[in-house]
């Protein structure tokens, strides 16, 4: 019994302390930011705030929610996340269902699969993609943020591996009852795979919420900018030329910047407990195949 020996106990004490310290280090920056956002302007600007708020106030949050540009961007982000995730799920799941069929039932399946996998290995890159959006007339349109990344080949592979674990008898029973492929998919496969589809949905949502670069290059003007791109422009680049003049004064305040970053991260923090429950499983789904 090794864990009763003295050297192992000494090691254990150090180990618990070390890992505890490392995990706190992962949370600390986020926590510090929250504390800055809850403090009064003067102590925050003077750099006095460290691990608790000084002069507690919610003023920064009130000011952030007064900011028209911020609210517009928040709305654009909500739209792209909801619409983008919904569309992506439908398109990817039905494709995954078809591709989960045996090549003897669905001739051409392997051709399709390679057609998709090639795009994981090689891409045209930034400039041709940009020219395409320009030529399609999608500049400044919400669809420019949704359509290019809609087909997620990795997610299709995850889902098709999952669909293949569905017992064949269920499918046969549905066919016997006269259901077609579409009906079988919606009435049998979809309900069974709901947990794994929910996981993929959460990951897609996080991806949409965090995406900033497409908004940065395809959206001109403040009214179409998603929140992540808005924060990139204002907080990271410090570029405020296209926004309200009174916002500029606001943004120079550390507390307001902190509150905006925190609100931007909040949806992720909220879905994180659900994500965490699923993602280990989700990775296993993709890693294990028959």
């Amino acid at each position: 019994m090794y864990h009763k020996t003295l050297p192992y106990r000494i090691f254990s004490v150090f180990n618990y302390a070390l890992l505890g310290a490392v995990s706190i280090l992962c949370l600390l920056p986020m926590y510090h930011l929250l504390m800055v956002s809850l403090s009064s302007t003067a102590p925050a600007n003077a750099g006095l705030v460290s691990f608790w708020p000084i002069g507690f106030t919610l003023e920064a949050y009130a000011r952030t929610f007064d900011n028209v540009n911020f609210l517009t961007s928040l709305w654009v982000s909500v739209k792209r996340t909801v619409l983008g995730t919904g569309l992506a799920l439908v398109v990817n799941a039905i494709a995954a269902y078809a591709l989960s069929k045996d090549a003897r039932v669905f001739r051409g399946r392997n051709v399709y699969l390679w057609y998709f996998v090639v795009t994981m290995l090689f891409s045209g890159g930034l400039i041709p993609g940009y020219i395409l959006i320009l030529k399609l007339g999608l500049m400044n349109k919400l669809m420019a943020l949704i359509l290019p990344g809609l087909v997620a080949v990795y997610n299709i592979i995850l889902m098709l591996n999952f669909f293949r674990t569905v017992p064949r008898e269920l499918e046969e029973a549905a066919f016997m009852d006269g259901a077609g492929h579409l009906r079988t998919f919606f009435s049998v496969y979809l309900p069974i795979s709901l947990p794994s589809i929910a996981t993929i949905a959460l990951f897609t949502m996080v991806g949409h919420w965090n995406a900033y670069f497409d908004g940065l290059i395809y959206m001109k003007g403040a009214e179409n900018l998603p929140l992540a791109s808005f924060m990139q422009t204002v907080i990271v680049q410090g570029n405020m030329t296209s926004f309200d003049p009174d916002m500029i004064a606001n943004m120079s305040q550390r507390t307001i910047r902190a509150s905006q970053i925190f609100i931007g991260a909040l949806p992720i923090l909220l879905v994180y407990p659900f994500l965490q429950r699923f993602f280990v499983k989700g990775i296993v789904i993709g890693a294990v195949k028959e």
Binding site: H3, H32, N110, P148, I217, A265, I283
Partner: protein, 317 residues
């Protein structure tokens, strides 16, 4: 990807059991893949064909069909450019340091975490260390810029408690910038990267430990002779698959943290492509640079998957 032939596949063809019927094309299935096929064609294959502008002097007014062909001009210019050599160096430096550290640190962390016997404590640690992976680089650089500024909490800590007399320019000094890039990436990703090792640790046969214990091995020897050898295959897989990423220094991170001051030490291929292409309008040159990167990456990915298959029997499909 090849389907294994079922043993009863021949039975259906045997006379008497079932009449041999012609193959009916499953139109519904073809229709179900159609939306994805169309979208991939438009948004992945069309841009791939757009790569030809790397061999042209692309002008938006003339379009792809009307722009003059210039052969390898942009590639020659690229290889003669001293700055290009520099950004290749930066890219390799960032990517390789991250690959190595993101292998060693999660591996060690997983081993240490494996020694935590209190389940609640273990789960709490996991929850905390996975979290940064899900936050975007926009959020994190917003935080880092604030933390690492001259009046930020890190510099205050260094000056007040460790007695440094001058603040450190973490994001404004070349060497410090490089260290910040490498270690902030490790900080963000090490937790998430432990998952794969933890899964492998859970799969080790407990009777191996029992046998080692009977032979008188302490925990350290058990780790050396049971745990680590059991993790070697997965370590090889992760290491070889990382080979495909040696030209990916993480655009999102560098783009959100760098500034013109430290381009010499901090610029990478992807950020260079963005600035040359979209900011300076050198569409053809930028495409040539990114094509160079894509081709090398493709070769590396193919090699890495072959290696992973040969060394550890790993396949994606």
């Amino acid at each position: 990807m090849n389907d294994t032939t079922l043993p009863n596949a021949k039975l259906t063809k045997a006379p008497g059991t079932r009449k041999k019927r012609g193959y009916r094309i499953p139109w519904t299935l073809h229709l179900m893949v159609l939306p994805a096929v169309v979208l991939v064609f438009v948004f992945s294959y069309l841009p791939m064909s757009g790569i030809i502008i790397a061999f042209q002097d692309y002008k938006a007014a003339l379009g792809i069909t009307g722009s003059p062909w210039v052969g390898l001009k942009h590639f020659n210019y690229m290889f003669e450019n001293e700055y290009f050599v520099k950004i290749i160096g930066n890219t390799l430096l960032f990517a390789c340091s991250k690959v190595v550290l993101n292998l060693i640190i999660p591996f060690t962390f997983a081993l240490l975490l494996n020694e935590i016997r209190h389940m609640g404590y273990k789960r709490a640690i996991q929850t905390l260390v996975y979290l940064p992976h899900f936050l975007s680089w926009v959020i994190l650089s917003g935080i880092l810029i604030d933390l690492l500024s001259q009046t930020g909490i890190v510099n205050q800590f260094l000056m007040n408690l460790l007695g440094l007399d001058k603040p450190i320019f973490f994001l404004g000094d070349g060497t410090w910038f490089r260290l910040t890039i490498i270690f902030s990436d490790v900080w963000k990703e090490f937790g998430f990267n432990t998952i794969i090792f933890l899964a492998a640790l859970a799969g080790i046969n407990p009777s191996l430990y029992e046998a080692a214990e009977v032979d008188g091995a302490g925990r350290f020897k058990q780790t050396m002779y049971v745990t680590i050898p059991s993790l070697i295959p997965i370590l090889i897989v992760v290491a070889t698959l990382a080979l495909g990423n040696v030209l990916n220094a993480n655009f999102d991170q560098v783009f959100n943290l760098y500034s013109p001051m430290i381009y010499q030490q901090g610029d990478i291929i992807d950020t260079f492509v963005y600035r040359e292409g979209l900011l300076s309008g050198q569409f053809s040159f930028a495409t040539a640079v990114s094509l160079f990167k894509s081709v090398i990456s493709l070769i590396l990915i193919v090699i890495s998957y072959r290696l992973a298959y040969k060394l550890a029997g790993y396949r994606i499909f």
